[in-house]
């Protein structure tokens, strides 16, 4: 059985193995034992509510209970930008108009901003290739939304997710090549490496600080603003299903979109329900794929299963109850897996 749950200290080896499988491009999941064990320590303290809400980092792992393997990981960081500045470009609008010449120009502009400071962030999603089947991917990603629905008071008003921006097959970024590179004289992969090393804010210090008209950029750079990397398109759709949307914030390097939502607009917050567990008695008439989570923060657990809650009750079998560490008459939170 596959269950997603709050990480525990003893998951270090499993997480370390997973990190070795990630490859480049994920800055928050490097195979570094010290870094990972520090992160797990923060996560454990987060689920135990031993540190202030804005310092928390909720790390979830997917466990295959048949063999105890850690199959995937995902995370919610409570607040970005409180340690060092979190930079984005925000797309704004400036209108230049002259009645005398009968000219009206509506121009997009890029503002270097720290506007998303303090937002909660979805990050560090990785599923081992062996487990990329069925609903595992959705469960791993969406587990976080049900967690937020259960504990909305722990999250600031806004939730964001940064998505990788458009790149050519050779790894070059038209946005970087036409903007950032002029200010750094380094290519994208080098800038990306520095970013991975946590030097993103230092690079931001060198970015032009005055508002820029998008029209200054060549068309190929304009065209990729807010566009995701081809590999990231499925992740984008999944987040959009849950209520995140693009509102004009992009990455300062590659112009990849930042998706955002106010917490109370999330599908999970709007549509998930708390129901009572009952034993399986009869086949559910209209069972469909659902997420079911317990209501414990310290030992948060969630599964995906075909089920049909009715009249405030949900039928779960013994194995499912065990996976969720719940029993008959426990409250669980449910939401359909798909919209």
């Amino acid at each position: 059985m596959i269950v997603v749950r709050a990480i525990r200290t003893e998951d270090l080896d499993g997480l370390m193995y997973l990190a070795t499988q990630v490859g480049d491009g994920m800055t928050t999941l490097k195979p570094d034992t010290t870094m990972l064990s520090n992160r797990i320590a923060v996560a454990v303290a987060s689920f135990a509510e031993q540190i202030p809400p804005e310092q928390r980092d909720y790390l979830f792992v997917m466990e295959d209970t048949t063999n105890g393997k850690i199959a995937g990981v995902s995370a919610i960081k409570s607040a970005v930008g409180l340690d060092e500045p979190f930079y984005n470009y925000r797309i704004g609008t400036l209108v230049h108009s002259s009645k005398e010449l009968n000219v009206y120009s509506r121009m997009d502009t890029l503002y270097l901003s720290n506007d998303l400071t303090g937002c909660a962030e979805l990050c560090s999603l990785f599923l081992h290739p062996d487990y990329r089947t069925g609903n595992n991917g959705k469960l791993l990603s969406k587990s976080r939304f049900l967690f937020i629905a259960q504990f909305p008071h722990l999250f600031s008003e806004k939730l964001i997710a940064e998505l990788r921006g458009f790149q050519h097959p050779d790894g070059s970024s038209p946005f970087w090549d036409n903007l950032g590179r002029h200010f750094f004289k380094m290519d994208f992969s080098r800038a990306d490496d520095l970013s991975s090393l946590g030097k993103k804010s230092f690079i931001a210090e060198l970015m032009p600080r005055h508002p820029l008209y998008v029209a200054y950029l060549p068309k190929e750079a304009q065209d990729v603003i807010g566009q995701v990397h081809v590999d990231t398109a499925p992740a984008r759709r999944l987040l959009e299903q849950e209520g995140l949307y693009y509102e004009g914030f992009v990455d300062i390097f590659d112009a990849g979109p930042v998706l955002q939502a106010r917490v109370n607009e999330l599908r999970s917050v709007r549509t998930s329900e708390v129901v009572q567990v009952v034993d399986v008695s009869a086949p559910a008439p209209a069972a469909h794929a659902m997420l079911v989570a317990n209501t414990s923060i310290a030992d948060y657990r969630i599964i995906a299963t075909d089920v049909a809650p009715a009249n405030g009750h949900i039928q779960l079998n013994a194995e499912q109850q065990q996976a969720l560490r719940c029993s008959v008459s426990s409250a669980v939170r449910t939401m359909s897996l798909n919209t």
Partner: protein, 346 residues
């Protein structure tokens, strides 16, 4: 003999004919008959205005071949570039970018729309027929304005500038405009120049032009190359003004990126090395000056109404009290013995 004098209403037909041969967008002088009439009327009012007011005046000068009355060229000087608004230009700023942790520190150039030149006096509308390029009379025309200002400093600012046409290709396209102005004006360079009549002091500029610094590295290569480049047809005034003491450095034109030359009056030859002397009718032997002792001087009258300037040969005047002028020159300048004139060596 060549004479520079204030424009007269009777010059309008000749100016219209002169303007008809001008390259679009390159020269700042008025081009339509209506605009020429307005410029002449404004100049007449300016020369006639009391001497203690500096503001709206724009003085238009004519270079004339006194022997046949032919109009050779024109040049103007305005008391204040911003008299009818705010004079806008791009200031070439340097922004320092620093990152200690990446050990990177470098400068980025950025163009900032500014009004720094608003209170300066502005030279404009310089044009000389092609066969007189590089002749002393071209220098006379360009400099006569400044000699006028040197005689009547209360009518002008202490600082002067002139904006020269920037680079455009044979079709009249400006690469600087394509990279910048077009994005805000949504029209061709020449169309924009026609609509604004070459002005840089109108509110529509602040309505349409970018208010934030334009980072130079983001401009196209062609636009960057055009920054501060003078149009081929403006090389004559560029050279004359540079010799006079003007320097291009900090400002460029907001439309075509052409150079804006500026100077404090103390850096200009006409001010710093102009000699105020009394006229003395030349005796005969003065005409027999040996070539090695003979120097070319520009001479201007010390009055606003009926201002005149011309070119004379004279012995060195640096330690002189008077300047000897022939009767012919004195007639042309309308001066008599004992009148003050300003002399500047060419």
């Amino acid at each position: 003999m060549f004479i520079v004098r204030p424009v007269a209403a009777s010059d309008i037909p000749a100016l219209v004919e002169l303007a008809s041969g001008l390259t679009q967008g390159v020269h700042t002088m008025a081009k339509t008959p209506a605009a020429i009439e307005r410029a002449v009327e404004q100049s007449l009012r300016s020369f006639a205005s009391p001497s203690d007011i500096s503001g709206e005046e724009n003085y238009l000068f004519i270079l004339e071949n006194a022997s046949n009355g032919q109009l050779i060229g024109s040049a103007a000087i305005a008391a204040s570039a911003g008299s009818k608004g705010t004079f806008f230009s791009f200031r070439n700023d340097v922004i320092q970018q620093v990152s200690r942790d990446l050990n990177i520190s470098h400068s980025v150039h950025a163009l900032t729309l500014c009004a720094d030149l608003t209170s300066y006096s502005q030279l404009s509308s310089f044009f000389v027929r092609r066969d007189h390029h590089a002749q002393p009379e071209a220098a006379l025309l360009s400099r006569a304005r400044l000699m006028f200002a040197a005689c009547m400093p209360e009518r002008f600012s202490d600082n002067f500038f002139v904006s020269l046409a920037g680079y455009t290709d044979a079709q009249g396209h400006s690469p600087f405009w394509e990279a910048l102005g077009r994005k805000f004006f949504q029209m061709d360079f020449l169309q924009a120049e026609r609509l604004v009549e070459g002005a840089r002091n109108r509110t529509l500029i602040v309505e349409l032009m970018p208010h934030y610094p334009v980072y130079v590295p983001l401009l196209t290569g062609a636009a960057q190359a055009a920054m501060g480049q003078v149009h081929a047809e403006s090389e004559v005034p560029f050279d004359l003004l540079t010799k006079e003491g003007f320097a291009a450095d900090e400002f460029i034109d907001i439309f075509d990126g052409g150079p804006i030359l500026e100077a404090n009056k103390n850096a200009l030859t006409s001010f710093a090395h102009g000699l105020k002397l009394q006229v003395d009718t030349a005796s005969d032997d003065a005409h027999a000056l040996h070539a090695s002792q003979s120097h070319t001087y520009l001479v201007a009258t010390n009055r606003a109404a009926d201002f005149r300037a011309t070119i004379v040969q004279s012995r060195a005047l640096e330690h002189a009290q008077t300047v000897q002028l022939s009767e012919k020159v004195m007639q042309a300048l309308m001066v008599a013995d004992g009148d003050d004139v300003l002399c500047v060596r060419w």
